[in-house]
Amino acid sequence: MRDLLLGVCIAELGVIAVLIIRLARGPTVSDRIIALNTMSTQGAIAVLFFAAYAGRSIYCDVALWLSSFSYLGAFVWARYLERGLL
């Protein structure tokens, strides 16, 4: 069981590695926002599974912050693209 949890964690980091390609290449800013957003979602799931692997439920809070704040970042970037931040 523990091997399964750790394997999922490693596989999620592999998915993040695929997404870095789009973060590097993406011709427009919107592409990069999408890649970054998806990266933090996958990171949140990786953290959840690592918490279950390590058996410490306090790590789960980091996943909560990661998933919620990545979307906040997406909204900030969208606003910046449309009319500037200030």
Partner: protein, 95 residues
């Protein structure tokens, strides 16, 4: 125990790649975004190393607050009227 080291080195490799992107990307907004990616991956690394409190701080500071401050600074030093090309879309600026 080997699995733990695989995780550790994968996180480190991701952070290094993003940091190299920050330096070598020739697009300002893209660099800021790669910086945000560094923050995200760094928080995952902190969790893996067993420091959830530092990871909390890193999520807020590294992934959100620092890039937003950079964006505000970039907006302040921009003297011309922000037209479509300056908003960071390479397609528009190349024409």
């Amino acid at each position: 125990m080997t699995g733990f080291w695989v995780l550790d080195y994968l996180c480190l490799a991701g952070i290094l790649t993003c940091a190299a992107l920050v330096v070598f990307m020739n697009n300002r907004s893209g660099s800021v975004m790669a910086l945000s990616g560094v923050g995200t991956l760094m928080s995952v690394l902190f969790v893996v190393l067993g420091a959830p409190d530092v990871a909390h701080a890193e999520v807020i500071v590294g992934a959100i607050a620092l890039p937003v401050l950079y964006l505000v600074a970039i907006g302040k030093i921009r003297t011309d009227v922000p037209d479509r090309g300056e908003l960071g879309e390479e397609h528009a600026s190349r024409k």
